[in-house]
């Protein structure tokens, strides 16, 4: 059974706690993305799974077997590294063959496997080249190839696409996803790129300062963030998170005071909130509708700045010295200085308490 399970995993470097009591489970055929800003402990977590780093406390199970005291080479894992880690003096074929040495295969079998992997990753033409003669994308494919050539229990990827340019990254994302879905193993991918996580993962774990903030499916992590950190971290452009005060509660319809404006928002279901308390409200830039008239259910503000994003524009709206952002279609013909009215889309407004935790009535 190809599974990875972490129980209360902690890693301290002196006083610094890099990974704090992390518990996770990756099932067979599941791709878990560890997502977070740099220095949040995601790579350290991965390295502990690989056995390259020794955990301070906690347990690691691979295929339901406790591997705490096993050496890296005995854990039966494969890993692709951020900087590819190709042996500079060996050719692509020799690099691919390296993981097979421990398996005592005949040279024909090794050759067969190399060609198999070379076919999957389109490396056929470059098997005799050395790493320094390869383009960045080719190096990356060789690194993936070296990971998948064996039949290990699980796969680990450390920032696999971070060194590629945007176009290549898009292409490789699809390719890796395809390869991974064919392998049907538990896979952990570490990344700081949310797009990478949202597209490749079946499950995302968002990390901050060594703690797991939320583990959910890619859709849920975007649509139902558990706290302001996840809400702000996932999604581009970033979610608008504003202070608000509750003025009036009428079942699911709540009247809020936001940026000195009173706005009435329908939350669909009643929420467990108190009148006159302050909260955070989160609205994504794409969750606004442009409306003609200023009404009780919309914001009104002055266009301060317009950023071009191709087919869309990012509008900075200024209300009483505060700025928030909204994405609108180019066809709306907005100009700096216009007064516009924006209505939050129904069901796309998030409300958080002052500790940053979401308030949700399911």
């Amino acid at each position: 059974m190809s599974t990875i399970e972490l129980q209360h995993l902690t890693k301290a470097f002196g006083d610094l706690i890099a990974v704090d009591n992390v518990s996770l489970k990756v099932e067979e055929n599941e791709v878990l993305c560890l997502l977070g800003p740099s220095g949040c402990g995601k790579t350290t977590t991965l390295r502990m799974v690989a056995g390259l780093e020794v955990a301070t406390s906690g347990d690691i199970f691979i295929g339901n077997k406790n591997v705490n005291n096993l050496e890296t080479r005995d854990r039966n894992l494969a890993m692709a590294f951020q900087f590819y880690a190709l042996y500079p003096s060996l050719t692509v074929a020799e690099n691919l063959a390296n993981p097979l040495f421990a398996e005592n295969l005949s040279s024909e079998e090794v050759k067969k496997k190399i060609l198999e992997v070379a076919d999957i990753l389109q490396l056929r033409d470059i098997v005799n080249r050395k790493p320094h003669q390869l383009a960045e994308g080719e190096k990356q494919r060789v690194a993936v190839g070296r990971a998948i050539i064996r039949d290990p229990e699980c796969f680990l990827f450390d920032e696999p696409l971070s060194r590629l340019d945007v176009q290549l990254r898009e292409q490789m994302r699809g390719q890796i996803k395809e390869v991974l879905s064919d392998l049907k193993k538990a896979t952990v991918i570490v990344t700081h790129d949310q797009l990478e996580a949202l597209t490749m993962a079946t499950k995302i774990a968002v990390m901050r300062d060594g703690l797991i903030e939320q583990v959910s499916s890619p859709h849920d992590i975007f649509a139902k963030p558990n706290n302001t950190f996840v809400a702000g971290f996932i999604g581009t452009p970033q979610m608008n998170i504003l202070d608000c005060n509750i003025i009036e509660i009428n079942s699911s319809i709540i009247k809020l005071k936001i940026l000195e404006q009173e706005v009435q928002i329908d939350f669909i279901t009643p929420l467990n909130v108190n009148k006159n308390d302050s909260y955070f409200i989160g609205i994504r830039p794409r969750s606004f509708e442009l409306v003609d008239n200023n009404a009780s259910d919309n914001f009104s503000g002055k266009v301060d700045l317009i950023e071009n994003m191709g087919s869309e524009i990012l509008v900075h709206i200024k209300i009483n010295e505060f700025t928030f952002r909204s994405v609108q279609s180019r066809s709306k013909n907005l100009n700096v200085g216009d007064i516009i009215n924006l209505k939050p889309k129904k069901g796309q407004v998030h409300i958080f308490n002052k500790n940053g935790e979401v308030i949700r009535n399911e």
Binding site: R47, T72, L77, A78, M79, F83, A85, P88, P99, R146
Partner: protein
């Protein structure tokens, strides 16, 4: 049309090239003078002003190995070939040992740092801050008591210790520059710690090994003081042997000395020449983007 006088960046004209050549010539002149002296006959050597055109002779080179002693006219072997061998053997062995121990230690310091790693490294470096003359008396006594004085083992160990701090520091900087991901990758591929070291790290620091061994070799090859005090008639190396040839006599045989120097610089010149590509890579290591 006005001639375009400004030169492209990165180009130097003949003026600078000839100026640089002139400075280089000043540096090289003493060596040239010694080489010429080695081929002069005794009377030409002492001529003032120096004779620039003379009939070359190999007399001096012959006299290194066979010479008439005292008042006798008979030519006897001087045993100089033995000193030559001693120099090669002793510096070769001690450089090898220092390289072996130094590389292992450097790998340890780089990959498995001790608590207070930097302090250890600094202490190692401090051993090279003092001039050797300060420690020569205690070392001489230790060698006398332990019976190491005058033996190959003694002087080889001495030079190994002498070369170690430098080897450790130099090799550590090479190991520090390596991408540790490659080592991790080979661990994932099933390599043991020893095959990570020998199979992955060592091949990547070849340039470092070359550079370290050449620098250590030059230091050892030219070392005079320890050899003078810690070797005997049979284990003596070239520098004190040469000093004995010129010292003590009223008339120094400059021709003979020059010939010895010529022989003395050949091995080190050859090795440096052969390893120059590696040396350049070694010296510029880390300055180029990986």
């Amino acid at each position: 049309m006005k001639k375009y006088e400004k030169k492209a960046i990165g180009q130097s004209g003949w003026l600078w090239t000839s100026l640089a050549s002139f400075v280089a010539f000043i540096y090289f002149f003493p060596v040239l003078f010694i080489i010429l002296t080695a081929f002069r006959s005794r009377s030409d050597t002492l001529a003032t002003p120096p004779k620039w055109f003379f009939t070359p002779t190999f007399e001096n080179f012959y006299h290194i190995f066979f010479r008439s002693m005292a008042n006798s006219t008979e030519y006897v072997a001087t045993g100089f070939h033995m000193y030559f061998f001693n120099s090669i053997y002793i510096s070769g062995m001690s450089v090898l040992l220092a390289l072996l121990i130094g590389t292992l230690a450097a790998y340890g310091f780089s990959r498995h740092p001790l608590k207070g790693n930097d302090t250890y490294l600094f202490i190692i470096l401090t051993t090279r801050m003092l001039p050797p003359i300060i420690v020569i008396v205690p070392i001489f006594l230790i060698f006398r008591i332990t019976g190491l004085a005058g033996t190959y083992t003694g002087i080889i160990l001495m030079y190994t210790a002498f070369n170690l701090p430098f080897s450790i520091w130099m090799m550590k900087s090479f190991f520090d520059e390596l991408n540790t991901e490659i080592e991790d990758a080979s661990r994932m591929d099933g390599a043991s710690e020893s095959s990570v070291f020998f199979g992955v790290c060592i091949p990547q620091v070849k340039a470092g090994l070359a550079a370290t061994s050449v620098f250590a070799l030059i230091l050892t090859w030219n070392e005079f003081l320890f050899s003078l005090l810690l070797t005997n008639k049979l284990t003596r190396t070239m520098p004190p042997a040469m000093a004995r040839t010129i010292g003590g006599e009223i008339n120094v045989d400059y021709g003979l000395l020059a010939a010895m120097i010529c022989l003395f610089i050949i091995p080190i010149f050859l090795i440096t020449y052969l390893l120059q590509n590696q040396l350049l890579r070694g010296v510029t290591f880390g300055t180029i983007k990986k």
